[in-house]
Structures are given as C-alpha cells and as structure tokens.
C-alpha cells in the first residue's frame, strides 16, 4: 500500500514542518548560548510574526515582498523591547527564575496579541500562488518551496553573521566563555540584546512562513514553539547544526508516524522517540 509517491509526499510534508521547527530551534539556541536559559517567549515571536504579516498586508496595504521583511523586522524590534524591559532588570541569575520570567513574558505577549488582534482565527495568504507542483507523483506547494528557500537563506545569513561580523564574533565569544568575554571588554548586555533580537527575527520568520499553512491565531505559536524546543533538545541544546538536524528529524518523524501509523498519535510517536534518544544520548544528537 505504501507506494513511492506516498513516501515522497510524507518526506515533503516532514521537511516543510521540519524547516519551521529548525528556524524556531535556532532561535532557542541563540538565546540559550548567550543567556543560558530556555526562552519560552520564543513561541510568541512565531505568532507575532504571523500577526504582523497579516497587519502589514491588510492594514498597511504593503505588497508581499515588503510585508515579509517588515513583519520580521517588527518581531525583531519587539524582541529587543521584551529583553530590555522584561529580562534585563531581573534581580536573579538563577536560570529557573529567568526561565519562569520568560514564561510570564509569554503570557503577557499572548494577552497583548489577543487584545490587539482578537481571539478569532485568521488566514494569511501564501507568498505566491498556491497551485501545487507535481514532482514524481507527489505534490508540493510553492509555499513549501519558499519555506525551504528562505530557511536556507536564513541559515546562510546566520553563518555569515556569526563568522564575518564583529557582533557575531562577540556572540560566539560570550557563548563559549562569558567571563573571558567580559574580561576582554565585550558588553554582555549588548550581546544578550542582540541574541534576543536575532531569536525574535528567526521566530518571526518562522511565523510568517508557517501561518499560511496552518491558520493564524494569537496562540498558534505555542505548539509549534514547543516542537521547536523539542527539536533543539533533540539536536543537542545550543548546537546550531544540531538544531537544524533536530528540526528536520522531528518533522520527518511526525510526518511518517502520521502517514504510516496513526495521525491521532503522531505527537506521541514523536515525543516517545525524542525521549528514547535522550535516554541513549543524554546530550542530544550533536550536543557536546
């Protein structure tokens, strides 16, 4: 019964959601590397990306090529603001307290979004037409191709940023040894703000790309974001190649278990495999 086109279809579906998980996972890793915490507000950056895209298209009337960067930029600025007024004044360096502050911030962001955009479900149009292409018997939507292309572009930009710019170098320094980075005069506050903004941009991009496939609502990011966190952990928390690998693995795993086992239990399969991987490799696939 499982023919090759079916298989290919599941691969496409898995890679599409996998790419989204990878983007979100990268956002988690960037913040973790410089601040040492899980930033649960990441899940709302995803929703916020979709929301801003919706407003840029319909309220501001921007064209698609302008609306996308505008939405991503908007989330980036929002993330900067959240870091500045939400995290930096905290009087504790206990990671558990900081993580729960991000959970509180996430509740606030969701509250704000439901106030501004309401709690109804909305639809965002895909980047270009939605007529699917057929490839060896399996259909693939142009939106999925956009997701692959823009995820790759984002990864390329990240590599450029981390290896070719001084801010990227500073962020790698703080990630590898915060004390030594402070000793040579790097401003930890600036680096943290930058990493938070970067996480916002990655989450926002994921939101802009995924909301045409799902629907848009103020809490659409929660489940996606948790999957992104799971992907980051699966790959080894803090490792960028791990985040990408983890995202794709999780996406494929979900898609195959939905296709071949049971769509009702696809989350169960995905998380059970995640747990088994962690039990065998407690630091994730590519963790150190």
């Amino acid at each position: 019964m499982s023919s090759f086109p079916d298989f290919l279809q599941f691969v496409f579906a898995g890679l599409t959601s996998g790419a989204i998980y990878a983007l979100i996972a990268l956002g988690f890793c960037v913040v973790h590397n410089t601040m040492g915490i899980v930033n649960f507000a990441q899940v709302d950056f995803v929703s916020l990306g979709g929301m801003l895209m919706f407003s840029a298209l319909f309220a501001a009337g921007l064209a698609m090529p302008l609306a996308l960067p505008a939405a991503v930029l908007g989330v980036t600025l929002a993330a900067l603001l959240v870091e500045r007024i939400g995290l930096r004044p905290a009087r504790s360096d206990n990671p558990l307290i900081l993580i729960f502050i991000t959970i509180g911030l996430s509740i606030i962001l969701r509250g704000l979004m439901s106030l501004i955009w309401g709690k109804n479900r909305m639809a965002v149009p895909p980047l270009t037409s939605d007529a699917p292409l057929v490839l060896m018997g399996a259909a693939i939507t142009p939106q999925a191709l956009w997701i692959f292309a823009l995820t790759l572009a984002a990864i390329a930009l990240l590599v450029f940023f981390f290896y070719q710019t001084s801010l990227g170098l500073a962020m790698r320094a703080v990630a590898s040894n915060p004390t030594a980075a402070a000793v040579v005069g790097l401003s930890a506050g600036r680096v943290r703000a930058a990493s938070y903004a970067l996480a916002g941009a990655l989450g926002g991009l994921a939101g802009v790309l995924v909301t045409p496939i799902t629907t848009l609502s103020y809490d659409v990011g929660v489940l996606l974001g948790l999957k992104g966190f799971a992907a980051a952990i699966l790959g080894g928390f803090g490792s960028f190649p791990g985040a990408i690998l983890g995202g794709l693995c999780l996406g494929l795993l979900e898609s195959f278990s939905a296709g071949y086992l049971s769509s009702a239990y696809k989350d169960v399969t995905a998380f059970v495999v995640l747990l088994l991987v962690l039990f065998v490799r407690p630091k994730g696939l590519m963790g150190k």
Binding site: A90, I97, I108, G111, L226, F229, I233, V272, L275, K283
Partner: protein, 336 residues
C-alpha cells in the same frame, strides 16, 4: 533561665509542630466560619494543588531538579481512580492506593532513565511525558472518553459518611494536605532531606559527601509523583468528573509557577504559592479583558523583584529592614 525564657525556648524548640497545630486548628474551624460553597470550593482546590506542589517543591526546591510534567501524574491519578472505580467497580479507597502504587511504578520507570538528564534536557523530557499522557487521554476515546471527559465517578465515603458536598470535601482534602505538609516538614529536617538540599546546591559536592545522588533523585521523584497521584484521585472523587484539559502542560507550568512564587525549597511557601496562583484569577476577574495581561505582569514582577519567592523574599526583606533599624537604634544609643 527565667520562666519567660523557658516559655520562649519551648516555643522556639517546637515552632514547627506548633505552627502546624495552629494551622490545623485554623483549617478545622474554617468551614464553621465560612460556609459559602464557592469559597470552600476554592480552598479545596488550593488544598489539592498544594498537595501536588508540596511534592514538586521537594523535587525542585530541595533536590534542585526540574519537572514540567507533574500534571501527567496528577492526571494519571485522577483517570486511574475514575477508571478503577467505574469500569472495574473497585471500592474507592483501595483503588486510590492501587493507583498511587501504579503511578509510583510509572514514575520509577520514567525516572530511572530521565533523571540521568540535567537542566533543560530534563525539562524537555518531563514536558514530553506530559504531552504523551495528555495525547493518550484525549485520543484513547473508548477508555478515557476523549475531550468530553469522564463522568459518574462515585464519591469517597468513610462508613456512612459520604464526602459529597464542599464542606465535607474540605475535611477530606485538607487532612491529606496536612499529612503531606507534616511529612514534608519532617523529611527536609531528616538526614535524607539534608542530603537532598546538598544535592540542590551542588551535585558533585553532595556525591563526595556520600549522598547517593542517583537514588535520592529517583526516590524524591517517585514521592512527588505519589503526592500528585493522590491529589488526582481526590480531584476525581470530589468533582465526579475529569477531562484531559485539567492535566495538560499548562497545568504543569502552573504547578512550577506555584513552587517558584511560594519560594524554592520553602515548604510553607508551597501552600502559599498554591493559594496565590489559584486565587489570582478570581481577584483579577474584574479586569476581564486584561486578565491574561495582568496575570503575566504579576508573575513577572514578583519573579523580577523577589526572585526568592514571595514568602521567603518578603521575610528576607523584613529581616534586612529590622537589622538596619536595630543598627540605627544602637548607633543612636551610642551617640547619646
């Protein structure tokens, strides 16, 4: 020693027992003073959550671990009791004990490999367990009733005394919570408890001092799971109805928020945290549309400015002020 000193010393020596006795007395007379079923419903819910939070605080605050999945044990307890008493017609009390034992077994099986993990990995593993349990509760329709839930769970009874209205639940759930409180207070001052506190401070140092780190973690995990399971069973019998939404990951996050707001490693704080998080939505009901916003804001502000938790944080603040005040008095006396 004067008589006054003796009395003060006696009070100081027995401060824990006396506070618990005073609190128990308060709980005992509370329904006589306050008989509004709605208020009693809220305080009962506080007692149920406090039971979970007490165990969770031992695990997080004392053993220094993290669990974002305790609602799973809470849910397993509730559904376990529900299914055992309706589908298998077991009497409620033995069913409750049996379910608690089974949940302990589940916690042991999950805990043995999962507690090898640290920090964020442990958080993800427990979160994953919770998602798995939640999905099964939703999807295993013939047994759990799916999204619409499971009703017709018989109430608990002692002889002819049936716990079927809020005033009676009050005594039932609070006696469990008080016993758990007493057990936790004793545990943290025993050798085992001190070992756990050492574990929270530094795992390697604790191991060097002879604490069996691995087994200590698993034991306290199992204990906290049993507390959660008992709370779940009581929840099922008190309300006669369970649905998966009471046992999702947001409930788990709420439990940890209760621990953090009450103060990590503060046993009395657990009660306070459970009360605060349960009552907060009631108090801010007047803000209606801004409810989520204010809920998040209060959480963030407390964590930001009193990171030790409200009780411990305010107590520290008070001590600090008092010391400064004494110092000022002394220096004024010295000047005079």
């Amino acid at each position: 020693m004067t008589a006054k000193d003796k009395i003060l010393y006696f009070l100081y020596l027995h401060r824990t027992g006396l506070t618990v006795t005073a609190f128990a007395a308060f709980v005992l007379v509370f329904p006589l003073v306050e008989d509004n079923p709605y208020t009693l419903g809220l305080t009962n819910l506080i007692a149920l959550y406090a039971l979970v939070v007490l165990g969770l605080n031992l695990f997080i605050g004392y053993a220094g671990q993290i669990s974002l999945g305790h609602a799973a044990f809470f849910g397993l307890g509730a559904y376990g009791s529900a299914i055992a008493t309706t589908a298998f017609n077991l009497p409620p009390w033995p069913a409750m004990a049996l379910v608690a034992a089974l949940v302990a077994l589940v916690a042991l099986v999950v805990g043995l490999p999962a507690l090898r993990l640290h920090g964020h990995y442990l958080a993800m593993a427990t979160l994953g367990c919770n998602i798995v349990v939640y999905t099964v509760l939703v999807q295993w329709h013939p047994v759990t009733g799916g999204h619409s839930g499971f009703s017709g769970i018989p109430p608990l009874a002692l002889g002819d005394f049936v716990f079927d209205e809020e005033g009676r639940f009050h005594y039932l759930v609070w006696s469990f919570t008080l016993l758990a409180l007493l057990a936790s207070l004793n545990l943290v001052r025993s050798g085992v408890g001190r070992g756990l506190a050492a574990l929270a401070a530094d795992e390697t140092a604790a191991a060097c001092l002879g604490v069996d780190v691995r087994s200590a973690k698993v034991k306290v995990f199992v204990l906290s799971a049993v507390f959660a399971s008992l709370a779940g069973s009581l929840f099922a019998h008190c309300y006669g109805f369970v649905s998966p939404d009471s046992f999702g990951i947001f409930r788990s996050v709420d439990f940890v928020i209760m621990v953090v707001l009450g103060g990590l490693g503060s046993i009395w704080g657990s009660l306070f945290g459970a009360a605060l998080v349960t009552l907060l939505p009631e108090w801010i009901e007047v803000f209606d549309t801004y409810k989520d916003l204010i809920h998040g804001l209060i959480l963030v502000l407390i964590l930001m400015f009193l990171p030790q938790g409200l009780i411990t944080g305010l107590a520290d603040l008070l001590k600090q002020r008092l010391a400064l005040y004494r110092r000022r008095l002394e220096s004024r006396d010295a000047d005079a």
